[in-house]
């Protein structure tokens, strides 16, 4: 790594800086007495010069010189230290070792070892990509606006999502604004619109966004995003207690764990800490995923047939969840293994195939690649 060569050179320089005083060992120390005497001698000469120029009277000059001479005597009485000591080399050598170590420790704590720099000029390719995305987006936009029927709803939705990723919240809100009043608009469109409006207003929920949230709730009272933003709105109005209640209520309506619940819990606990309400956890609302200790205990007490049914129900729950969250690689692997155990070759193969589609972007040495390959081979893929 190129970093380590200059870094080592710098550390070496620091070591040299510590050891430098050991090179020159002539014991000539300027002590306070000598330094001060030199200055007083100079002051005496200066007074002579001033007297010669007629700036002060001879009497004044004499008095001033007397005063300086008294100071010289006082300094002269100071005890000289005698010859200065020049030992202590061991200490400096120890420090010369410690300094790079200390610096290295501080660097590891605060730095980002291995992080390369990336000047703007070297990122032309990346910028070209970005430009291409921008161009494609604009083309999509043109196509949609020139469409006589106003453009398909999915098209606008895609456009809005792209704008959101680009941070162009105004444009995203505008795009979504075109479809929210359509027949096929659903609650999700309204919450996306509200989200874009809120982002465009630096996190402030405007009346327009508030109305969109209310409409989204009317259309689908179980839309979690609608509940979430409604709670934010309540909080913005200073009604933190109600906001928390709303979130809690929505969690009570759920019957299984979902990823968005973490966000809800954080909000609930943040709002709760303001009012002093006790913190809540996911277990308070739903059975968390995976067999709990009780499940395992119950399964052990079952007959073979009962156990088979129980496992099957767990597997079905997992399969259902994966329909909603198809990106969960570990979930698919778990499902494939479960189906394999249950002897359902075709389904196991399907699960591993789904997992295979998610391997892209993983590191080449990721162990899960092997698991997938083994699973596919085992079930005849």
């Amino acid at each position: 790594m190129t970093f380590w060569i200059p870094a080592a050179a710098m550390a070496l320089l620091a070591v040299l800086m510590i050891l430098l005083p050991l090179w020159r060992r002539d014991g000539a120390a300027v002590d306070h007495r000598e330094g001060a005497l030199a200055i007083f001698v100079d002051q005496l000469k200066e007074i002579d010069a001033e007297r010669a120029r007629g700036l002060i009277s001879p009497a004044e000059a004499e008095a001033a010189q007397l005063e300086i001479k008294r100071r010289m005597l006082a300094v002269g009485r100071l005890k000289g230290r005698g010859p200065a000591r020049t030992g202590g080399a061991a200490m400096l050598m120890a420090l010369a070792v410690l300094v790079p170590l200390l610096a290295g420790g501080v660097y590891v704590m605060t730095g980002a070892p291995g992080a390369e720099s990336l000047p703007f000029a070297e990122r032309a390719e990346e910028r070209a990509d970005t430009r291409e995305i921008v161009e494609l987006t604009e083309r999509l936009r043109e196509r949609l606006t020139s469409d006589e029927n106003g453009g398909p709803t999915e098209g606008w939705e895609l456009l809005a999502q792209t704008y959101m990723r680009m941070g162009r919240f105004d444009a995203a809100a505008e795009a979504l604004g075109r479809i929210v009043d359509r027949e096929d608009a659903h609650s999700g469109h309204l919450t996306q619109w509200a989200e874009a409006l809120i982002a465009a207003n630096d996190g402030i929920i405007t009346a327009q966004a508030g109305a969109a949230i209310d409409r989204a709730l009317d259309m689908d009272v179980l839309n979690p995003a609608a509940s979430y933003y409604k709670a934010q709105w309540l909080e913005q109005e200073g009604r933190s207690g109600e906001a928390r209640e709303l979130l809690v209520l929505r969690l009570r309506q759920a019957d299984e764990a979902q990823p968005w619940m973490e966000v809800f819990l954080r909000q609930i606990n943040r709002l709760g800490s303001e009012t002093g309400a006790a913190p809540v956890a996911l277990d308070d609302f739903v059975v968390t995923r995976g067999p709990s200790a009780e499940d395992v205990e119950a399964a052990q007490a079952m007959t073979a047939e009962e156990r088979g049914d129980f496992i099957r129900s767990m597997v079905n729950r997992l399969a259902e969840r994966l329909e909603d969250e198809p990106d969960d690689l570990d979930g698919w692997l778990q499902l494939g293994r479960a189906y394999g155990v249950l002897g359902e070759q075709a389904r196991a193969l399907q699960a591993y195939q789904a997992a295979e589609g998610l391997l892209e972007g993983l590191a080449a040495n990721d162990p899960r690649r092997e698991v997938v390959a083994a699973g596919l081979a085992e079930h005849g893929g």
């Binding site: 970093f3 870094a7 710098m10 550390a11 320089l13 620091a14 800086m17 510590i18 430098l20 005083p21 050991l22 020159r24 060992r25 000539a28 120390a29 300027v30 002590d31 306070h32 000598e34 330094g35 001060a36 005497l37 030199a38 200055i39 200066e46 010069a49 120029r53 002060i56 004044e60 005063e67 100071r71 006082a74 200065a84 000591r85 020049t86 030992g87 202590g88 080399a89 200490m91 400096l92 300094v99 790079p100 200390l102 610096a103 420790g105 501080v106 660097y107 605060t110 730095g111 980002a112 070892p113 992080a115 720099s117 990336l118 000047p119 703007f120 990122r123 990346e126 910028r127 970005t130």
Partner: protein
């Protein structure tokens, strides 16, 4: 890689600072020359590594490396190169890096140039300087890391406030910091002397060049900052008694007092304890300024309370350094021997009055700066303490100071003949009185304070010039004799004269531009004509012009007087699309007699149509402020070049250096 090297440079600087804060101090206590000398190389090492780090950060800004968060937040690939460079110190993190770099610069300065300073004092001073270094380096590394990375990098950066995109401002913080932070070395000298338990005339001499260097830079920094505010902010003022200005002005006031009290310590061995206290307090005010500016306390006390990590850290540093040094002072100061005696009317007496008034003035500014902050913290009320407060409190304190300033240099040490001095100064007194009376006549309605201040300015100018003339026997001896005397006069003496004249010149500017300012705001359409201070201005039109990273509306104003065309002025209103903000670029017609100052703003509303808001100001004598400030800095430089500041003990190994030819 380069940002990481910068980061490693900071870590090495911290490690060296830790060593430097212990070893030389121990060496001085045990008389170990090797340990004492280690301060010199570690101080240099700190400077090298901090300069490397600063260079690395600057590189990241220059090439727009958006893997560094600091660059993302404070730069933009479209920004003109000069301002990319300046953005290095534009942010909180970058300015802290500059802060520590300058700290190290002064440490290394003492290490390299302080050859006439006794080893023990130098070692202790550098150790104390390293304590400050450790405090600020840890603050930077652990709460405000300038090299924090951002991976993956965003496509482009978020720009810097375009108001800060200005040459004057790009240069302002570095200069201000050199002054502000420069007082750290004076503080270190004071604490070292307290630890050593020895403060004498020689000590004052050793510290003097460093005080002068810091004072000069601070003067230049403040002047440059006010110049920037004057022509960039578009309000036509050069000083707003804004807290950010005040926190740099307070160290200047106390630093000025320190500069003068150190003279007494040097010449008469008196005021020792007071000089030490001033050295401690001056740097404490610099730290307080850093705290107030860097903690976010100014934006709002509330914002500070929400994210107090940084503020609390600086507050801790502040408590340790100020509390620690004052405790040390309380323990050691009573043991200091008193200096020579003096009568109330004497050079010492004059300097004492100077010190008292400067200290009171500092207290006044401190009160005005902190009171609104405390009030907001306690009651939640937001008030601002502005010019009316300072005009009523600060200005009346400074006026007697100016009077004594004219007198002081004539007074002799120990005991002076006030009557004799006043007899010599009848000319200055008469001129000042006449000038004040003439002004009174010219502006019968004029403010009393302004007339008085102007008269005192004249008094100071004439008296200072007369003092200098008497030293070189101008007009009382053949000219060649005067010239020879002027050459032989110590440079510090010329420096004092120049600096005092500079302040007088500044006073003309202060008074002229604030008391006799003419101000006019109109809604103007193309063709509108206005008259200000004898000038006729006509708005020709407004056109849109492109700039490097902004677009601007540029107005064309035709200026004439008595029907005679003088010049065109082009004030601009700039719009920076990336930063989504706007700035005012005023146009100024400079002349020594006064500045004609014009700025425009957009039509107030859609209904106002083509009517631009045109503001025209006439500020008499305003350029005297910068001229005077320049004289102050030049005076400081002259004093700094005085050969007496480099007198050292003769080297035993070599032949004793010859003193310069006798004066």
């Amino acid at each position: 890689m380069i940002p990481e090297l910068g980061q490693f440079g900071l870590a090495l600087a911290l490690a060296l600072a830790v060593v430097q804060s212990v070893v030389p101090m121990a060496g001085a206590a045990r008389g170990n020359l090797v340990w004492m000398r280690s301060a010199q190389s570690t101080a240099l090492g700190q400077l090298v590594f901090l300069a490397l780090a600063f260079g690395a950060l600057m590189w990241a800004f220059v090439v727009s490396d958006f893997t560094v968060r600091n660059v993302v937040e404070n730069s933009n690939s479209l920004k003109p190169m000069l301002f990319k460079v300046a953005a290095t110190w534009g942010s909180h993190e970058g300015s802290l890096l500059l802060w520590t770099l300058i700290l190290a610069l002064f440490g290394a300065g003492v290490a390299v140039f302080g050859t006439n300073i006794p080893h023990a004092l130098r070692a202790r001073t550098l150790s104390v300087q390293a304590w400050i270094s450790v405090g600020f380096l840890t603050f930077m590394l652990f709460t405000s890391n300038p090299f924090e990375r951002m991976l993956p990098p965003p496509v482009d950066g978020n720009d810097l406030n375009p108001l800060l995109q200005d040459i004057g401002l790009a240069m302002h913080p570095p200069l201000l910091y050199v002054g502000y932070v420069g007082f750290s070395i004076v503080f270190s000298f004071a604490v070292a002397a307290l630890i050593e338990g020895r403060v004498d005339a020689a000590w004052a001499r050793w510290v003097r060049p460093w005080t002068l260097a810091a004072w000069m830079s601070l003067t230049a920094g403040i002047a440059l900052g006010s110049w920037w505010a004057y022509y960039e902010l578009g309000w036509g003022g050069w000083w707003f008694w804004d807290p950010v200005e005040n926190v740099s002005f307070m160290p200047w006031l106390l630093g000025t007092a320190l500069l003068h009290s150190a003279i007494v310590t040097e010449k008469r061995g008196a005021f020792k304890s007071w000089t030490i206290l001033l050295a401690i307090l001056t740097f404490s005010l610099s730290l307080l300024g850093t705290f107030i500016v860097r903690s976010g306390l100014l934006t709002s006390v509330h914002a500070f309370a929400v994210d107090p990590e940084r503020g609390i850290y600086i507050l801790g540093l502040l408590g340790i350094s100020i509390g620690g040094s004052l405790t040390l002072y309380a323990v050691r100061a009573p043991a200091m021997e008193g200096g020579g005696l003096f009568a109330p009317v004497s050079r010492e007496g004059g300097l004492l009055i100077n010190n008292l008034l400067l200290a009171v003035a500092t207290g006044t500014v401190l009160f005005g700066t902190l009171y609104p902050l405390f009030l907001e913290a306690i009651t939640g009320d937001k008030i601002s303490v502005g010019p009316p407060f300072y005009n009523a409190s600060f200005v009346p304190i400074m006026l007697p100071l100016v009077f004594v300033m004219g007198l002081g240099p004539f007074l002799t040490w120990k005991r002076a003949d006030l009557k004799g001095v006043l007899q010599r100064l009848w000319l200055a007194l008469a001129l000042a009185a006449v000038a004040a009376l003439v002004l009174w006549y010219l502006v019968t309605e004029g403010p009393v304070l302004a007339v008085l201040a102007f008269g005192l300015g004249i008094w100071l100018f004439v008296a200072t010039a007369q003092e200098w003339a008497s030293r070189i026997k101008l007009f009382r001896a053949p000219f060649s004799e005067s010239l020879r005397r002027a050459r032989n006069l110590p440079r510090a003496s010329h420096g004092m004269t120049l600096a005092h004249l500079g302040l007088a010149v500044c006073i003309f500017g202060f008074v002229g531009s604030s008391a006799w300012k003419e101000d006019l705001i109109v809604f103007a359409e193309p063709g509108t004509e206005v008259q200000v201070a004898g000038f006729d201005l006509r708005l020709e039109g407004v056109e849109e012009v492109p700039g490097p990273n902004y677009t601007a509306f540029r107005a064309t104003l035709v200026v004439s007087r008595d029907g005679e065309f003088l010049q065109n002025l082009y004030p601009e209103r700039r719009n920076y699309p990336v930063a989504r903000s706007q700035t005012t670029e005023s146009a100024i017609r400079h002349s020594l007699a006064g500045d004609l100052y014009a700025s425009i703003a957009e039509p107030a509303s859609q209904t106002a149509g083509e009517a631009w808001t045109l503001r025209v100001l006439y500020e008499p004598l305003v350029n005297f402020i910068w001229l005077g400030s320049f004289m102050l800095v030049l005076g400081g430089a002259l004093s700094l070049s005085d050969r007496r500041l480099r007198v050292g003990a003769p080297r035993r190994a070599k032949a004793p250096e010859m003193a310069q030819p006798a004066e």
